[in-house]
């Protein structure tokens, strides 16, 4: 339980080893990913226990989104392996990962503006009385889902284009929650959210936590919210997980300290490069 400080973080980036025998639903081991000359992920080791909510922090470009895309089957890793429920898997596609119980919610990109709320809710999982859609069933269920969550929407029949960013995000999350996924990946679910809508999403995640059988990975920028909702926090820096602690064992001050430290180090590095060996700022 040492506090990483700026000097050691660079040399000792290894996260805590996955606990042997723990009921991990998902483990990523030594994941590496390159895009041409850019190394997005170096050596990612991540584990997710059943019913756990894991917060994934990190600067823009640290590799959070790349990791998420690999975990949901949108992209494939160059090296390393993914272990799902104790078995190594290779995700062929988002559909394939979804069929194995992994669902992802992107930052509100996933909704179709031209479709109604309830059609979005059931897109590609339509309730059908062949060959026709059972719109009535879908409307009823959508109303029910949204009521459970406490999202206020004038009508489930309105187009999602007419909704606010937060409402859209809430619908996307509600959709994923009701997709019977066992692992939910949420990509910045709190971005562009009003206070109330943010609270709705946080409550949704809490409900999931209470269910106990759904594991959640949340990418977020707001450390306070992350600490509040997550069981455990991982920090990605330059393609590696450099920090892995239970929320109870860390604090906002510590997280801030690490990130600021990284920024100072980067700044000092740049100074050195520019000035040919200037003093390190610390």
């Amino acid at each position: 339980m040492t506090t990483d400080n700026g000097d050691t973080a660079a040399q000792v980036p290894q996260a805590a080893d996955p606990l042997a025998g723990a009921p991990d639903v998902l483990r990523a081991e030594h994941i590496g990913k390159r895009f041409g000359a850019v190394t997005a992920l170096r050596d990612i080791n991540l584990r997710l226990a059943r019913g756990e909510v894991l917060g994934l922090l990190g600067d823009n470009g640290a590799g959070k989104s790349t990791l998420l895309k690999i975990l949901c089957g949108f992209q494939q890793q160059d090296s390393g392996r993914i272990v799902l429920n104790g078995q190594e898997v290779t995700f062929k596609s988002v559909d394939h990962a979804r069929s194995l119980g992994i669902d992802v919610v992107y930052q509100d990109l996933a909704l179709v503006n031209q479709l109604s709320v309830y059609h979005n809710m059931f897109l590609n999982r339509e309730k059908v009385r062949w060959p026709l859609l059972s719109n009535r069933t879908m409307k009823r269920l959508t109303r029910q889902y949204l009521d459970e969550v406490g999202i206020n929407i004038p009508s489930v029949e309105s187009d999602v284009a007419a909704l606010s960013g937060g409402q859209r995000q809430a619908i996307a999350v509600a959709r994923a929650v009701h997709s019977n996924a066992k692992i939910l990946l949420l990509d910045e679910p709190l971005a562009a959210m009003g206070a109330k809508e943010g609270a709705i999403i946080l409550d949704l995640v809490r409900d999931l936590k209470a269910r106990g059988d759904v594991s959640v990975v949340i990418i977020a920028h707001n450390y306070a919210q992350v600490l509040e909702i997550c069981d455990r926090v991982n920090l990605i820096q330059q393609g590696e997980i450099t920090f892995d602690k239970r929320s109870a064992d860390t604090s906002l001050a510590e997280l801030n300290e690490i990130v600021v430290e990284e920024y100072r180090r980067a700044l000092a590095e740049r100074h050195r490069q520019l000035a040919g060996g200037g003093p390190a700022a610390s």
């Binding site: 990109l109 996933a110 031209q114 590609n124 007419a162």
Partner: protein
């Protein structure tokens, strides 16, 4: 006005008038709002106005417009545009376009002719095979070029259109062909004997394709693919399947309309000199006049049906009132533009109303 008289019989002139004009104003506003909300309603209004206009003009001189022979003529003009437009609506909604469908329209009857005359297919089988083989096959090729090889559909179907046009001229030696005698009986079903057969087909297909678009997962996925391709893919919608299907449906509709027109006119035409572009352009224009967005994601079958009606009434109406063939196209283009401007501006109003 009758209200006014009843309420205040003595002073029919001035005092009640604010109330009356208020009522009229409110009705107008409500009608306006309805028009703004229902995009088909606008086009329907245009259809009615055009009928009234041409009706009045032509009845002044010689009452031709909207008589039975004229209705037959209208139907013959409108039906193929409508049938092809249903396919184009599906394609436009999912973000594609088919410029080759007019050539499919011209090519299919020739294949039917060859199958029945030279390969001794039974007439019915020959018709069905020609429609499915040519329409579905070329639709598949269009989709392959667009989806699998990644060409823009505008270019892909331009290319296939030229090729099919060339094939039609080559195989037909640039000459018209007769309807095969063995197909004459069955041709009644495709509009040979009855001038209204084709428009009945168009009406039935309107119902079928309206339901397909609005009430089935296929229609929903088509809108999703055109509205937000990335989101649709993330939801697991199979983009390729939707686009292949819609290209093939469009081809099949083009083939069907072509065979029908061949029976209707008792003639298999080669449509040389780019004449085969015309049905396609009319169909796309009908779809767009009916409120289908060129950018994908939205469109309606009823709108396309009404849009085709607008075009047909313009074509027929100008002929009936005796506008010379030369300036006809000037009016025609102007009418299309006016219809489009009304649509775009009303759509803007709709969006504003929705956001508020």
């Amino acid at each position: 006005m009758s209200n006014t008289v009843q309420r205040a019989p003595g002073v029919a002139g001035q005092q009640p008038e604010p109330g009356t004009t208020g009522n009229v104003w409110r009705y107008l506003r409500q009608a306006g709002l309805f028009m703004a909300k229902q995009r088909e309603a606008t086009v329907f209004l245009v259809v009615v106005l055009l009928i009234v206009y041409f009706g009045l003009i032509s009845s002044a001189g010689r009452p031709v417009f909207f008589t039975k022979p004229d209705l037959v003529n209208l139907s013959i003009i409108a039906a193929p545009i409508m049938i092809i437009a249903y396919g184009e609506v599906l394609l436009l909604i999912c973000g594609e376009i088919d410029l080759s469908v007019g050539f499919i329209y011209a090519f299919t009857p020739f294949i039917m002719y060859f199958l029945i005359t030279y390969y001794h297919f039974p007439a019915f089988l020959g018709i069905i095979v020609a429609i499915l083989l040519v329409g579905g096959g070329i639709g598949w090729v269009n989709a392959f070029l667009t989806v699998t090889l990644g060409l823009p559909s505008f270019v892909a179907t331009l290319g296939t259109g030229f090729i099919i046009g060339g094939l039609t001229l080559t195989m037909g030696h640039g000459e018209q062909a007769p309807i095969p005698p063995s197909a004459l009986g069955i041709g009644d079903w495709f509009g040979q004997a009855n001038g209204f057969a084709q428009i009945i087909w168009a009406a039935i297909l309107l119902v079928v394709f309206h339901i397909l678009l609005r009430q089935t997962p296929w229609g929903l996925h088509t809108i999703a693919v055109g509205g937000n391709a990335l989101g649709a893919r993330e939801a697991g919608v199979n983009l390729a399947r939707i686009k292949f299907g819609n290209f093939m449906l469009t081809g099949i509709l083009g083939g069907l309309a072509g065979v029908q027109t061949a029976f209707q006119t008792n003639l298999i035409d080669t449509y040389s000199g780019g004449a085969a572009y015309q049905p396609m352009f009319y169909a796309v224009a009908a779809a767009v006049i009916g409120g289908t967005a060129m950018l994908g994601g939205s469109g309606t079958m009823i709108g396309a049906f009404l849009g085709a009606a607008v075009l047909a009434i313009l074509i027929d109406g100008f002929a009936v009132i005796g506008v010379s063939a030369f300036p006809l196209q000037i009016f025609f283009g102007g009418a299309i533009l006016i219809a489009m401007i009304a649509n775009v501006q009303l759509a803007r109003l709709r969006v504003q109303g929705r956001v508020r």
